[in-house]
C-alpha cells in the first residue's frame, strides 16, 4: 500500500532519495569477499554487476516460458514472443527511438558496429571514400572500419585529441569532406572517460549529408540517451555493461537507413519467403535478426533497462559525477599517481598510471586488497600510444559504488607505494 509518506518521498529532490546501501542490496555479486577482503568492484566499464531482478528474469524465462519465438502456435511460444517483443519496446523507450522496428537485437556493441560496417559499408562505401573515427575509439570501433576500408579501397581518417583527451573539433571539421561516407565515434571513451560532444558532431556531419554511428557502449548505463535528440543514424550498446546479461546488445538504426540496407546474415526469421530462385526478406527489424535470437538475454536486458530507468539516468549521472569528483581528488592525493584523461566533460572512468610501477603490478596489488580494476590497454592501443604509456590502471565507476570504496582505492595505492618504495 502506498502511503502519503511514500508519495512525498517520491516528490523529494533526487539527491535526498539516493540510498546507495539499499541499491547495493539489489546486486548480489557486490556482497562477497575476494582474497579475504570485501569486494570493491571498480571494473564497471568492462562489465557491470547484475541486479537480482535481471537474474530472476532469466531464471523465470528458462523455468516457465522457454520456447522459440516467432514460430510456435503453442502458448509458451506466444508468451516468449510477447516477452521478447515487449523488451524491444522497452529498449525503444530507453533510447527514445521513434519506432520499435528501429531496434535490432545483436550480440553486443561489437556486432552492432560490424553489422553497420558490413551492410551499410559494403553498399555505400567504395574506392576513395572515407570513414572518420577518432583516436580514442575502442578497437571494436576501429577494426571493423579498417577491414571495410581495406576491402573497398576506402580511407580511414582519424580525429586527433588534445592532451586532456578531448577531440579536436576543428580538425574534425577539416576531415569532413565530399568523400566522407560515415562518421563512427564513441559517446564516452572507455579508456579515458571523455564524453564526446556527439550532438554537435552529428550536426556537423549532417550539414554535409554524412550519417553518424555512435558507439554508446560506455554511455548507455551512465547518462540519458535520446537518439532523436542526438539525431544519430545508428547507436549501439552492449547489454552486459548496462546491468543486463552478456551476449545481448542493441543496434538502433534510423528506419530510413535500415529499410535500404541489405541483410547482414542470412537464415531463419529474416526472410518472408524463400525459393531457390529468389528470397524476399522480412520486414524490419527481423531482416537483421537471422536465426534464433538470444531470447533470455533480450528479456533480461529489458528488465535491466527498466531498473536503470527506475533509478533515473539523470540521478545515476549525478551520483556518478559526485563519485568521479571524489575519486579524482583521491587519486590526486595518492603518491606518484597521474590521471590520464582530464577532459572537462568526463564520466565514470578514472584511468591513471603510478610513477615507476607498471599498471599490471598495481592491478595485482589492488586485487589483493579486494579491489577489482582493469590494468592494460583497455582495447584502445592507439589511446595508449597517443598518451605515451604502455598501459594504464582503470577504475571505472557505477552508481552502486561509494566514497568508502574510493577510500579503499586510495589505501590500496598507498600499499603499492609501500611495496615498490
Amino acid at each position: 500500500m502506498i502511503t502519503a509518506r511514500d508519495a512525498r518521498a517520491a516528490a523529494a529532490p533526487a539527491a535526498a532519495l539516493w540510498d546507495v546501501e539499499r541499491i547495493r542490496k539489489d546486486f548480489p555479486a557486490l556482497h562477497q569477499r575476494v582474497h579475504g577482503k570485501p569486494l570493491v568492484y571498480l571494473d564497471n566499464a568492462a562489465t557491470s554487476q547484475k541486479p537480482q531482478a535481471v537474474i530472476d528474469a532469466l531464471v523465470a524465462y528458462y523455468s516457465l516460458e522457454n520456447s522459440n519465438v516467432h514460430r510456435g502456435v503453442h502458448l509458451l511460444s506466444e508468451k516468449a514472443t510477447q516477452a521478447y517483443e515487449e523488451a524491444r519496446v522497452r529498449v525503444q523507450r530507453f533510447l527514445n527511438a521513434a519506432e520499435a522496428r528501429e531496434i535490432v537485437f545483436v550480440r553486443g556493441a561489437t556486432e552492432g558496429i560490424n553489422l553497420v560496417a558490413a551492410s551499410y559499408g559494403r553498399t555505400w562505401i567504395g574506392a576513395g571514400d572515407e570513414v572518420i573515427i577518432s583516436t580514442i575509439e575502442h578497437h571494436s570501433n576501429i577494426v571493423p572500419w579498417q577491414l571495410l576500408c581495406e576491402e573497398r579501397g576506402a580511407l580511414l581518417r582519424v580525429i586527433p585529441v588534445d592532451d586532456a583527451g578531448e577531440l579536436l573539433l576543428d580538425e574534425y571539421a577539416r576531415l569532413l569532406g565530399a568523400r566522407t561516407k560515415l562518421v563512427a565515434v564513441s559517446h564516452i571513451s572507455n579508456a579515458l572517460g571523455t564524453v564526446n560532444p556527439v550532438k554537435r558532431m552529428i550536426e556537423m556531419a549532417h550539414r554535409q549529408g554524412v550519417p553518424v554511428l555512435v558507439d554508446g557502449a560506455q554511455a548507455a548505463p551512465h547518462l540519458r540517451v535520446d537518439v532523436r535528440e542526438l539525431d544519430c543514424d545508428f547507436y549501439v550498446f552492449s547489454g552486459h555493461k548496462a546491468l543486463g546479461p552478456t551476449g545481448i546488445g542493441v543496434l538502433y538504426g534510423r528506419a530510413e537507413w535500415l529499410e535500404r540496407m541489405p541483410p547482414y546474415q542470412g537464415g531463419g526469421d529474416m526472410i518472408a519467403s524463400v525459393t531457390f530462385e529468389k528470397t524476399t526478406y522480412n520486414a524490419l527489424p527481423y531482416k537483421f535478426e537471422a536465426g534464433t535470437p538470444h531470447i533470455a538475454g533480450v528479456i533480461g536486458l529489458g528488465v535491466a533497462l527498466d531498473y536503470l530507468s527506475g533509478l533515473g539516468l539523470d540521478r545515476v549521472a549525478a551520483h556518478e559525477r559526485e563519485l568521479l569528483t571524489y575519486g579524482t581528488a583521491t587519486l590526486q592525493a595518492a603518491p606518484g599517481v597521474r590521471i590520464i584523461g582530464t577532459a572537462r566533460d568526463k564520466a565514470s572512468v578514472l584511468s591513471f598510471i603510478v610513477d615507476g610501477v607498471h599498471a599490471h603490478d598495481v592491478g595485482t596489488i589492488l586485487d589483493h586488497a579486494g579491489i577489482a580494476v582493469r590494468a592494460g590497454h583497455h582495447c584502445a592501443m592507439p589511446v595508449m600510444r597517443r598518451f605515451g604509456v604502455p598501459a594504464t590502471v582503470r577504475a571505472s565507476l557505477a552508481f552502486y559504488n561509494t566514497r568508502e570504496e574510493l577510500d579503499a582505492l586510495g589505501a590500496g595505492l598507498r600499499e603499492v607505494r609501500e611495496i615498490f618504495g
Binding site: 610501477v357 607498471h358 599498471a359 599490471h360 603490478d361 595485482t364 596489488i365 589483493h368 590494468a375 592494460g376 590497454h377 595508449m384 604502455p390 598501459a391 611495496i419 615498490f420 618504495g421
Partner: protein, 149 residues
Amino acid sequence: MSELRELYQQVILDHNRKPRNFGKLDGANRTAEGYNPLCGDQVRVYLDIEAGVIRDIRFEGSGCAISKAAASMMTASLKGKTIGEADQLFGRFHDMLTAAGNGGAAAELGKLAVFSGVCEFPSRIKCATLPWHTVRAALAGKDEPVSTE
C-alpha cells in the same frame, strides 16, 4: 599481504629497478622478440652463441616488475650455459610456476626460486615466462615475434 610479499620479493623489486644485462648486445647472432598482449609486456633478447654455449645475453623492452625481473635474472643465470642446460633450466622454471607444490624444482633453480610465489598468481605466470619463451624462440631461430597468447 604475505602472498604479495612472496610475489614482490626484494630481489625481484631490485632487478626491476636495476635490470642486469639491459640493452642491446652488439655482435649478437640470435635475437627474438616476445610480446604479452594482455598487459603489453614487450621484450627483445639478444644472444651470442658459440659452439652451443651462450657466451653473452642481453635484453631490452618494457613491462611489469615480474617480467622485467624475470628477464634480468634469466640473463644472469643463462650466461655461460650450453643450449641444453638452458633448455633444462627453462623446463624446471616452467614446472615451478605451473606444477603445484613442486618444491623439488625450486630447489634446483638457485636464485630463480624467488619466482616460486608467482604460481599463486595465475594471471602473472605469463609475465615470468615471457622472456624464457623469447629466448627459446631466438635459439630456434624464429624471426616471428612470440606471443604469450
